[in-house]
């Protein structure tokens, strides 16, 4: 017997709420915004609503099915977002607050800016594997997360990170940006 729309809606919202909280708890630390996640969830909501019209099965939807549906929804939203960007219709502007720990002087701000650009360019010179682990590390990913994402053992990740940072420092020293660089 089909469920009432209210019961269906309650089950769906409860499922999506739990899912949203879990995804956000993991992703927020690395820059996942509520905006992107909510767009993906709206897409997922529509897909689940169509796939389970008034069905009790929704409450027991398997993690595997939910994952595939969520990935499909995420890909749809990502493609849509890129299409908007390319057609010049920018979505919500990014007003990212970056509060400096201390107010730099104009000279210092210029130096930092120059240093930041040179550092970003220098990372490009690292071999691909070391570059990936160094980039992830510098973006705040924990070693375990890096190992998980790249499918490497913890030992390999640790080793490549150590060597990558060593290479990076050596390249910076060659450009005159040594341990005593003022930042």
């Amino acid at each position: 017997m089909p469920r009432s729309p209210d019961a269906m809606s309650g089950t769906l919202e409860s499922l999506l709420h739990r899912y949203r909280e879990s995804v956000l708890r993991i992703g927020r630390r690395h820059g996942l915004s509520d905006l992107l996640l909510d767009e993906a969830l709206q897409e997922l909501r529509i897909r689940l609503w169509r796939a389970f019209p008034g069905s009790d099965q929704l409450a027991a939807v398997s993690p595997g099915y939910l994952y595939r549906a969520a990935v499909t929804a995420a890909l749809m939203v990502i493609r849509r977002r890129r299409a908007k960007r390319e057609s010049g219709i920018e979505m919500t502007p990014q007003f990212e607050e970056t509060t400096p720990a201390r107010e730099p002087s104009p000279d210092q701000a210029f130096d930092e800016s120059e240093l930041a650009e040179r550092l970003a360019r220098t990372v490009d010179e690292l071999p691909a594997a070391r570059q990936a682990v160094v980039r992830l590390h510098l973006q705040g990913y924990h070693r375990d997360e890096i190992a998980g994402l790249l499918g490497w053992s913890e030992a390999k990740t640790r080793n490549l990170l150590y060597r990558g940072l060593e290479d990076l420092r050596a390249l910076l020293v060659r450009q005159g940006i040594g341990p005593g660089a003022s930042v």
Binding site: S22, H30, G31, Y67, L149, G151, P179, A181
Partner: protein
């Protein structure tokens, strides 16, 4: 240059580049990174781009977090004891029926707990002795505590303990007899009420 300066400067440098970025990788390539599909060189290229592009990084993070939630949801939620027993039973079956495998192969199987996922990573292997009595594992993000179980090859529980640390000392009394094989496993209890389990690993207990 100190590590914190490197981090701050790198993030600033990447943010400046975002305004002029080009050549974003397709969404499917980001999914390949998360699902570890395709050649490693291609995946590294995609990951490197994503870490230098705020939009792609956010998209990668959406897919990565979705995957992690899926992996966690696949864990049994009906209690540690039963979960640990299943893990150990699977480990013992593998050992009993697959003695041709190496010791490390038990972990390599990946499917002992759940395929391809090893959320709590065990470190200690080989003999556990008076000189080295500790079972060590890697910390898990979000873990509030860890439950450690040590069982004999026949499944008999030797000891079980809960700790907030990532080290568990095997008591002298458990190593007092002749050398014997045992299995150990760790379950991380996360602050959100869910759990993550390690694979079961075989060790040798020696006095």
């Amino acid at each position: 240059m100190k590590e914190e300066d490197l981090v701050r400067l790198y993030q600033r440098g990447v943010a400046r580049r975002d305004a002029t970025r080009s050549g974003c990788v397709p969404p499917e390539a980001l999914l390949d990174v998360v699902e570890r599909r395709g050649p490693e060189a291609t995946r590294l290229q995609s990951a490197n781009h994503a870490m230098a592009c705020a939009d792609c990084r956010e998209e990668l993070e959406l897919l990565r977090a979705t995957r992690i939630v899926r992996d966690r949801a696949r864990l049994p939620r009906f209690g540690f004891a039963l979960a640990a027993s299943l893990i150990l039973a699977a480990g013992l079956s593998l050992y009993t029926f697959g003695r041709q495998r190496t010791i490390g192969g038990i972990d390599d199987a990946g499917g002992v707990t759940r395929s391809g996922s090893d959320d709590v990573q065990l470190v200690t292997e080989g003999p556990v002795s008076g000189q080295a009595p500790n079972l060590v594992w890697r910390s898990t993000t979000g873990a509030a505590s860890y439950v450690v179980e040590l069982r004999r090859e026949d499944g008999t529980l030797l000891t079980r303990g809960t700790t907030t640390d990532t080290v568990f000392a095997v008591a002298d009394s458990l190593r007092a007899g002749p050398d014997s094989n045992a299995y150990w496993a760790v379950t991380a209890r996360l602050s959100d009420g869910t759990s993550l389990a390690s694979t079961a690993r075989r060790i040798r207990l020696t006095p």
